[in-house]
């Protein structure tokens, strides 16, 4: 089915914006840590490094739907079971097939106003659309695996999730590739609409092989008394920048942005995490923990924004980093912008090393140093995993982190 005219126009507008926007130089405040050209936001269109074949997608646990987007190309989802009224499909097809549901929401949270947004809006080739009607429980996860095979220089995809009033959903986006012989750019936009009283858990698992440079912008709009959780697990990719924002638009909402990352070799990860309280009496918690080794570099920037008119805000922000050796470097920049009185906000950022006493305790019980460090790192990251609601997913994530650590 051809895409509707409004969608084509949106693409055209994005292309024009992309051409008009001034080049990012890396001197902008937001771009101090990750060079725009490392994410191929500037410079020539990336060339395909050459196909090395697709990655074996690990058979994860039970899923309601699985969708595989090889190099971001659209494909048919494999549906196991879906409650009545729930729609899960490839986003490109949904433009026409579910036009009334998509039209008012696509590009509304992650638009084409800036370079990364415009790039994705102009170039996205495939994506995921999830719609859960009011009162329906779709907690059995829907999973999309986006892979890079080396056959394309860019992999641009989008996710649009709509959870209507009182409904529940779990959505997983997983990003995988084999080690690639050259650079591939991945661009992701994730839009999450969480209606009053609804509940959504979204997991983004970034586990690329070598060569992938990935930028993801995620925005959740969380309405009255809704509960939204974004979990970001960043393990693989040469340069990865993830920007989750929890935008609270209804009173009494509960929004959590959780993240864990493990960086090694020359990997460079930046996480920019924001919660924005545009309504009173809401709770938010940003918790990011990371471990890094070798010459890896990580940056965490967090911001709690409470504009005027949001009394009763209860907001927390924590970032802790474990640096396993000299030569690896973590920066943490926790920020607050509070313009309402009568709020409870706290923020903390820390960069530390493995505690000698922890290491000695484990070694004194015979555990060799490398294994002891592995246990300590897993334990350190466990605090984040504990927040993952579905036990099965939690165990899968633990396993993914363990694989990365060996």
């Amino acid at each position: 089915m051809a895409s509707p005219a409004w969608a084509d126009e949106a693409r055209e507008t994005a292309r024009a914006t992309l051409a008009d926007l001034p080049a990012l130089t890396g001197r902008e405040e937001d771009w101090r840590f990750t060079r725009p050209r490392d994410l191929m936001l500037e410079g020539p269109e990336p060339e395909a490094p050459g196909a090395v074949g697709d990655v074996d997608v690990p058979e994860a646990g039970q899923r309601a739907v699985r969708l595989h987007l090889a190099d971001g190309a659209p494909s048919e989802p494999a549906i196991t079971e879906l409650p009545d009224g729930v729609v899960v499909g490839e986003l490109g097809s949904a433009l026409a097939e579910h036009e009334p549901l998509v039209r008012d929401r696509l590009l509304k949270l992650v638009g084409a106003g800036d370079k990364p947004g415009a790039l994705n809006a102009a170039l996205w080739s495939g994506g995921t659309f999830v719609y859960v009607p009011a009162g329906v429980d779709a907690t059995l996860p829907t999973e999309t695996v986006t892979t890079a095979t080396g056959a394309a220089g860019r992999v641009a995809t989008r996710t649009l999730v709509v959870v209507e009033e009182g409904a529940r959903a779990t959505v997983v986006d997983r990003y995988l590739s084999p080690d690639l012989p050259g650079r591939v750019h991945a661009s992701t936009a994730v839009e999450l609409f969480v209606a009053p009283n609804a509940e959504l858990e979204h997991l983004a698992i970034v586990d690329w092989g070598a060569g992938v440079h990935h930028q993801m912008v995620l925005r959740a709009q969380v309405d009255r008394d809704a509960r939204a959780r974004s979990v970001v697990v960043t393990l693989g990719g040469d340069v990865v920048r993830v920007e989750p924002t929890m935008q609270i638009v209804g009173a009494g909402a509960d929004a959590r942005a959780l993240g864990l990352f493990f960086a090694g070799g020359q990997q460079h990860f930046e996480h920019r995490v924001v919660s924005r309280h545009e309504a009173p009496n809401a709770y938010s918690n940003l918790l990011y923990k990371g471990a890094l080794q070798d010459q890896a570099r990580t940056v965490f920037y967090g911001n709690l924004i409470v504009p005027p008119g949001s009394p009763g805000t209860d907001a927390y922000q924590t970032n802790r980093n474990l640096v396993l050796n000299e030569g690896a470097r973590a920066d943490t920049i926790p920020f607050l912008e509070i313009e309402t009185a009568e709020v409870k906000c706290s923020h903390a950022g820390a960069v530390g090393r493995v505690d000698d006493e922890h290491l000695f305790y484990l070694k004194s019980r015979g555990v060799p140093e490398a294994e002891a460090k592995r246990l300590i790192v897993l334990g350190f990251l466990q605090e984040v995993l504990e927040h993952v609601r579905l036990e099965e997913l939690r165990h899968e994530l633990e396993a993914a982190v363990e694989r990365k650590l060996t």
């Binding site: 000695f360 019980r365 555990v367 246990l375 334990g379």
Partner: protein, 252 residues
Amino acid sequence: MAEPILKIHDLQVAVDDTPILRGLDLEIPQGEVHALMGPNGSGKSTLAYAIAGHPRYDITGGTIEFEGEDVTEMEPDERAALGLFLAMQYPVEVPGVSVMNFLRASLTAVRGEEVKPREFIKEFDEASELLKFDRSFADRYLNEGFSGGEKKRHEIMQMALLKPKFAVLDETDSGLDVDALKVVSEGVNSLRGPGLGVLIITHYTRILRYIQPDVVHVMIDGKVAQTGGPELAEQLEERGYAEFGPAEAATA
């Protein structure tokens, strides 16, 4: 007399360049239980850590031999693999590391071979039962939120699981209620035999009534000042350490 399981000769240990142990000699034949008593700050825990190989305790002179092998330079995990165990005075909390995962890694390392999951669970349950631990402790994080007494009891549970050849119990009795002291003592006594040597560091004769020592040593200012039979412990409890001279003078 059996061969010594532990033989310490002229041991000198410094912490942050401050000498704490100043030429300590100690020999413990395999199968015996020795008690070590001494005033606060005399260096008992320093000795315990030095035996276990804590990197902060710098061995500046002397030797530690375990079963005839010089372990002075060995890493703590290598010593543990030889059969050495330290029940710590202040067991460390390790966030996020579950008791089960930790002890599986530990037993595997000490045995030097993979322990089958079923075999592990069986031994884990036996040790838990011996020290009266509920199964729910398996999933808890190591020492996190354990009460003071639970931490101490858990050290002995680990000892029961790992079955060392030699164990140092550093004030395992401090902070234990009467019942817990009994459980811990019975645990240690059930492990006692010709294949286990023990060094009990304590301030009180209470634990020594349950776990009767063969020999009692008194440590003053980083050295063994006197060695005697079980009656020495009773004397110390009555008279204190005054006859060994004021601790301040000794440390100065």
